[in-house]
């Protein structure tokens, strides 16, 4: 890590710790939702941006994580933390299964297959209402019995940091190198000795497990889980967040998700216009700035800062 990165990380950590005391309960809630989306969008980026598997069914794993925790808690009275853990495991296992199923697919075929998987799951949740609560939703018990969202805030902050840093470490390791090699050229990766099958499934399992974690937190936080978590509009929002942030930099995606969620709320009075704006934002970003808006923007600011710093050190006044 370079000096500006360390400085920025410290600044962000301080800001994140102090955040609940700087805003009112409403914006704290928005921040929590934004961080849940950040985890989902970052895990989608790992799968799509780094491993090259454009899944449009990623929100299905959020639903799997959430409904596993919720149903276990409601029907079998399993403690929530245990249920959330089970949700992560279930999402990762089913994700590995889906990854194995689409081993021979790529590009639009994989996108269609995963989209179909997600829709089938959503329809099943809607239909099997005795277990899932159907379209009316599933009432999930609370995780904390506190007056404020403070415990939820610090928990999701910890989960966000752990999952994103964890994924960044994976991506910086040889696994990440293999993910990208497979994305670039599956045949060449195999010729280079990369176990393509294993690493494709692994990427799916990791991304799905992390999405399951987000779902497992979301369910008790919101208290009511509806099949809409797996809807294609949700998927669209996640994709927009990742694309705006810059799909190949996880911190950029996290910033993108939180920024988009705050914009969603700030524009609440515009009602339905919000999703239109995000569709438009996604279109314009793809059309004119494919590397995203936030990550390249940050790089530019950092370049400028480094340049200014050098000038200061040299003490020249040119």
């Amino acid at each position: 890590m370079r000096a500006p990165d360390i400085l920025l990380s410290l600044l962000l950590a301080g800001l994140a710790a102090a955040f609940p005391f700087l805003v009112n309960a409403y914006w704290l809630h928005v921040m929590i939702i934004g961080m849940i989306y950040a985890i989902i969008a970052a895990s989608w980026s790992l799968l799509a941006g780094f491993a090259g598997q454009f899944s449009f069914g990623h929100v299905a794993f959020v639903a799997i994580g959430g409904y596993t925790a919720g149903i276990l808690a409601v029907s079998l009275h399993v403690p929530l933390p245990l249920g959330m853990l089970a949700g992560i495991v279930a999402a990762a296992l089913i994700g590995a299964g889906v990854g194995w199923t689409c081993l021979r697919m790529s590009g639009p075929y994989l996108a269609i297959f995963t989209m179909a998987f997600s829709e089938v799951l959503r329809i099943t949740i809607v239909t099997e209402n005795e277990i899932t609560g159907g379209p009316g939703g599933l009432n999930v018990p609370q995780l904390f019995h506190a007056q404020t969202d403070l415990p939820y805030y610090y928990l999701i902050l910890a989960l966000l940091v752990v999952s994103v840093v964890g994924m960044m470490l994976v991506l910086a390791s040889r696994w990440g190198l293999f993910f990208r090699a497979i994305r670039e050229n599956e045949q060449a990766a195999a010729a280079a000795g990369v176990k393509v099958t294993r690493f494709r499934i692994l990427a799916c399992a990791i991304a799905s497990g992390v999405a399951g974690l987000a779902g497992g937190f979301y369910a008790p936080y919101i208290g009511i889980l509806t099949p809409d978590v797996a809807s294609q509009d949700q998927m669209g929002l996640v994709v927009a967040m990742a694309i705006v942030g810059g799909v190949e930099t996880l911190p950029g995606v996290v910033a993108g998700a939180i920024a988009v969620e705050f914009m969603v709320e700030a524009l609440r009075s515009y009602g339905q216009w919000r999703l239109v704006l995000f569709g438009l934002l996604l279109l314009l970003t793809m059309r004119f700035a494919r590397n995203g808006l936030l990550a390249p923007g940050w790089l530019a600011i950092r370049r400028l800062a480094v340049l200014q710093g050098q000038r200061l050190i040299r003490g020249t006044a040119d």
Binding site: T101, Y109, E119, I123, V239, A240, I243, V276, G279, R290
Partner: protein
């Protein structure tokens, strides 16, 4: 019981023709632009609304309104193609397949939600083509369904004639087979891409206008046909218009019979959409790149 079977079969064929219309458009777009249009169901939805407003605002009778809806959909699709898809044709463009997936997916989200604002979230139903039902013994079918199926078949027949017998149709075919050779014989391939996307939009829009009196219009009506169209394209083989027609009718038929014979009557209609998706997942499993595998290998 037999009557019920007959009615469900007839309904299946009607919706199958509509599916076929949507799917042939998707096929033509893929054959030319080499992208899967994830916003195809939304073009179908827009076509339905175009038809509705031509009838209610301009006072055009329902049948000519279908033709008008197709014309407007054509122009609408061309505008989309000009605005968003031209980067696909520049030789320096990287990861074209990814771009095609994401840009059309974003478009789908955008159109679905802007439709809620412009047209409202509540279902709209344009006037019937003809009121009443046709009764043939035990078979009862509304005239609207007959018109939808008949109109759809007519459009498909005209399309096949157009593709095989006209200069433009053959130019489309030439570009889909080889862009380079087509340009050698003087075909402007970029104009063909534009035309193909417009044509695909017109077919989807026509389908939307035809079903409007039967199923009503809603902003999210494109979601299901969107995925159904992929099933059909994969089953029928890409680039094969006749394959799409047959596969479309088969899917419509089997979906309706599935509803009719599922032992649990409450779950039947709910799982009907899942049924088509499930078939598609199976097809993709056994033919992972669809029937059009070789085309895909050449992509990017």
């Amino acid at each position: 019981m037999l009557d019920y079977f007959l009615i469900q079969s007839a309904n299946g064929i009607v919706i199958g023709v509509i599916y076929a219309l949507i799917a042939t458009g998707l096929t033509i777009i893929f054959a030319l632009l080499k992208i899967v249009n994830f916003a195809h169901g939304e073009l179908y939805m827009m076509g339905g609304y175009f038809g509705y407003y031509v009838i209610t605002l301009a006072g055009v009778p329902p049948l000519p309104a279908v033709v008008a809806a197709m014309a407007i959909s054509f122009a609408f699709a061309v505008a989309i193609e000009r605005g968003l898809l031209t980067p696909l044709y520049s030789p320096g463009m990287e990861r074209k397949s990814d771009y095609g997936i994401l840009i059309t997916f974003g478009l789908a989200v955008f159109l679905r939600n802007i439709a809620i604002i412009i047209f409202g979230p509540f279902p709209l139903r344009p006037p019937s083509f003809f009121d009443g039902d046709l009764v043939l013994g035990g078979l009862i079918i509304s005239y609207d369904r007959l018109v939808a199926a008949g109109g759809g078949l007519l459009i498909l027949v005209l399309l096949i004639f157009f593709l095989n017998r006209t200069v433009w149709g053959q130019a489309l075919n030439a570009v889909s087979q080889s862009r380079e050779s087509a340009s050698i014989v003087g075909i402007n391939s970029e104009r063909m891409y534009m035309f193909a996307f417009g044509l695909g939009g017109a077919l989807a829009g026509g389908a939307g206008a035809l079903v409007a009196p039967i199923y009503s219009l809603s902003p999210s009506m494109g979601l299901v046909p969107d995925t159904q169209a992929f099933v059909i394209v994969i089953l029928g083989g890409l680039g094969s218009v006749s394959g799409s027609i047959i596969a479309g009718i088969l899917l419509g038929l089997s979906e309706n019979l599935f509803i009719a014979f599922l032992p649990d009557p409450n779950r039947g209609p709910s799982y009907a959409n899942a049924f088509g998706l499930f078939i598609m997942m199976l097809v993709l499993l056994f033919r992972p790149t669809g029937i059009f595998g070789r085309h895909h290998a050449a992509m990017e």
